[in-house]
């Protein structure tokens, strides 16, 4: 599904290298987690993959099902099946959530040469998916993320994921700012989307989220590289001992 090889990334405006040779392969239907201390480059990886400006790829590659992601515009990456659930979903005053969702779904369908959904078709689908995420009609009508609580914003991200049906989902600290119940709800939403043809890359600080979204592989990222990979037990090790031991091990 996702193949990242020797990825080096620097900030465009300053001479600062953030990613220093990331290698990562996520297979079809797999869930990988990335953990790591602050400033290790986890969020940068998610932004570079989804095409945010301000970063310069100085070496390496990233492919989605054999297609070079880094050459594409953000909207082309989305249409190709990539999705990023933002750590901080952006508030967009004046743009209704429904209009936004429908424009997004139909833009992707159009880019893939599929027929656009009619207003009625779209409404039926969105209502059903919103219900399972406990998103009410009012949240759908309001401007995108404006006045949403932390939990509502994250649920709205998962709703977008459910509507867009991406192949490769990146969750950037989706658990941040969520209480236990909200986290459960979000995790259920993610788990409902798990399938053979869909993979996940879950970026998190805490093992707790991984109790709900069970990963196949856990990676530890530090200083712009993946320094260790293993099974779910690796996350438990971090939870118990912190990163210090792992960092010392590699050094």
């Amino acid at each position: 599904m996702l193949n990242i090889s020797n990825l080096h990334v620097a900030l465009e405006d300053e001479d600062k290298q953030i990613l220093k040779g990331v290698d990562l392969t996520v297979g079809d239907g797999q869930v990988h987690a990335i953990m790591g201390p602050n400033g290790s480059g986890k969020s940068t990886l998610s932004y570079v993959l989804s095409g945010k400006g301000g970063y310069e790829v100085t070496a390496g590659s990233a492919q989605l099902n054999g297609v070079d992601l880094l050459e594409m515009e953000p909207e082309e990456r989305a249409a190709a099946g990539l999705f990023l659930a933002f750590q901080y979903p952006v508030e967009i005053p004046g743009v209704g959530n429904m209009t936004f969702l429908r424009t997004a779904v139909n833009s992707q369908r159009k880019a893939r040469g599929e027929a656009e959904l009619t207003a009625g078709e779209f409404l039926n689908i969105v209502r059903e998916k919103a219900k399972s995420l406990k998103i009410d009609a009012d949240m759908l009508k309001r401007p995108v993320n404006v006045g949403f609580s932390g939990g509502e914003k994250k649920r709205n991200e998962i709703l977008q994921m459910a509507m867009l049906e991406p192949k490769m989902c990146i969750l950037d600290e989706t658990d941040s700012g969520l209480d236990v119940d909200a986290m459960k709800l979000v995790a259920e939403g993610v788990n409902a989307l798990r399938s053979e043809g869909r993979s996940f890359l879950v970026i998190t600080h805490y093992q707790r989220l991984l109790d709900h979204i069970k990963p196949d592989v856990v990676h530890i990222m530090a200083n712009g590289r993946i320094i260790k990979s293993g099974g779910p037990e690796l996350a438990l090790e971090v939870e118990n001992n912190g990163y210090a031991d792992l960092l010392a091990e590699v050094a």
Partner: protein
């Protein structure tokens, strides 16, 4: 001295540029025109060194040579197409009854200005040129004086009840060299209501005055769409006088146009009244749009709102000059003013001059003016969901302008404005 002479010469050139009618005018019209003519001569033509013309060079509006403006001919839907209304069509500034609806609307007297001017006594005498003259102080508006002194085309409307349909002025432009003055007079009697719609380029060069006298408890709504025929020039003036507990709401959409100066002069003369002046513009290239607003509070507990939003790109220029004057004794005034521009590139300009002048001590007046670029974070968020950049940008532009469009009370009319803007943006997408 050179400037004074230029202003004097300019006024004479303007006076000579527009012919006087060959038909006989009634006494009231003769008097009103003579007063305005004297005003224009005393003021002189607008000059770019005048305080209220320093952001907008008046040359394109007063150039003795009438511009040649290509006429756009296409099958595009006109604004307000689906709105049930009484259509009054002007072609290059001349009323065209054969292309208009029968000018009849329950509760509203509708009469061409020309026939009103031919009678010796007419109710229009109480309004025609009167509100314009009152709006000449403290800021000179010589183009409005010119209009009163010379215009013979337009309508006089008198609403005596709540009208159930809007009166819709449609200004067609068919002659590449047309240079025209249109003057409407509106009187909304006590407790009555009227909505006026306006659209169309009107002429190669248009000078428009709309005087609106709103009696106690009456309400007046105005929605206009200025667009098409990009090389056209227009100077428009609204003069409104508000009685007790009356309502005035005006919204203008401007897209296209190398020179559009829209002045609005609003005066509160009765207590507890409300006025909203709002506008949205989307400009591209050699577009220039100026909103100059003057609101005078001379009554107690009145509320005024000014909401102006401009989206500019490829070197387009937007100007906003807005003033709230609160006279001594106009206590409990609530004055609000916001002007905002979204600049889509580094070449575009927004020039804003908000002014407050307050002589009462128990008032709430606020004003704000901002100028910024599109929000990159929002743009990336939309793109990351698969929305192409051009469409994402248009969504954000529309969201920005929507705050001005929301000032229109009637949802059907607001939707019409939305449609105009969407269509304009779609045509411009790369």
């Amino acid at each position: 001295m050179a400037i004074a002479q230029a202003k004097y010469d300019g006024a004479e050139a303007l006076i000579n540029a527009y012919a006087d009618p060959s038909w006989v005018l009634g006494a009231w019209a003769v008097k009103a025109r003579a007063t305005a003519l004297a005003t224009l001569r005393a003021q002189g033509a607008p000059h770019r060194f005048d305080e209220y013309w320093k952001y907008t060079n008046p040359a394109k509006l007063i150039d003795p040579d009438t511009p040649t403006v290509p006429v756009l001919r296409d099958a595009e839907d006109r604004p307000f197409h689906d709105v049930d209304r009484v259509k009054l069509v002007f072609v290059d500034g001349v009323f065209a009854p054969e292309r208009s609806d029968d000018p009849k609307l329950s509760g509203v007297e509708i009469e061409p200005l020309k026939s009103a001017m031919q009678s010796d006594i007419h109710w229009a005498a109480e309004v025609f040129g009167k509100l314009e003259a009152s709006g000449q102080n403290p800021v000179a508006r010589p183009l409005a004086a010119l209009n009163t002194a010379k215009a013979t085309t337009g309508f006089v409307l008198r609403a005596t009840a709540k009208s159930d349909r809007p009166v819709s002025f449609i200004y067609l432009h068919e002659n590449e060299k047309s240079d025209t003055l249109i003057h409407h007079v509106v009187k909304v009697e006590e407790g009555a209501s009227l909505t006026i719609l306006e659209n169309g380029p009107a002429a190669a060069r248009l000078n428009m005055v709309l005087e609106i006298d709103i009696a106690d408890g009456a309400s007046f709504h105005h929605v206009r769409a200025q667009g098409r025929d990009h090389q056209r020039r227009a100077a428009t003036h609204l003069f409104a006088r508000l009685g007790k507990e009356s309502t005035f709401k005006s919204f203008t959409l401007t897209v296209n146009g190398v020179m559009t100066r829209n002045e609005a002069v609003v005066e509160f003369t009765g207590d507890d009244a409300h006025a909203t002046i709002a506008a949205a513009c989307a400009g591209d290239g050699d577009f220039h749009n100026d909103n100059t607003v003057f609101v005078t509070h001379d009554a107690v507990n009145c509320e005024s709102r000014q909401v102006f939003k401009k989206v500019l790109r490829n070197g387009a220029t937007g100007v906003f000059q807005g003033k709230i004057l609160v006279k001594a004794g106009a206590q409990k005034t609530d004055g609000y003013q916001i002007s905002q521009a979204l600049l889509l590139d580094d070449d575009s300009n927004f020039l804003a001059k908000p002014e407050l002048e307050i002589y009462a001590d128990d008032v709430a007046c606020s004003h704000g003016s901002t100028c910024g670029a599109i929000d990159d974070e929002a743009l990336f968020y939309l793109a990351s969901r698969g929305i192409p950049r051009a469409i994402a940008q248009d969504m954000l532009v529309m969201a920005f302008l929507a705050e001005a469009i929301e000032e229109i009370d009637d949802p059907t009319l607001a939707e019409e404005i939305h449609k105009r803007l969407s269509a304009w943006m779609e045509r411009r997408r790369d």
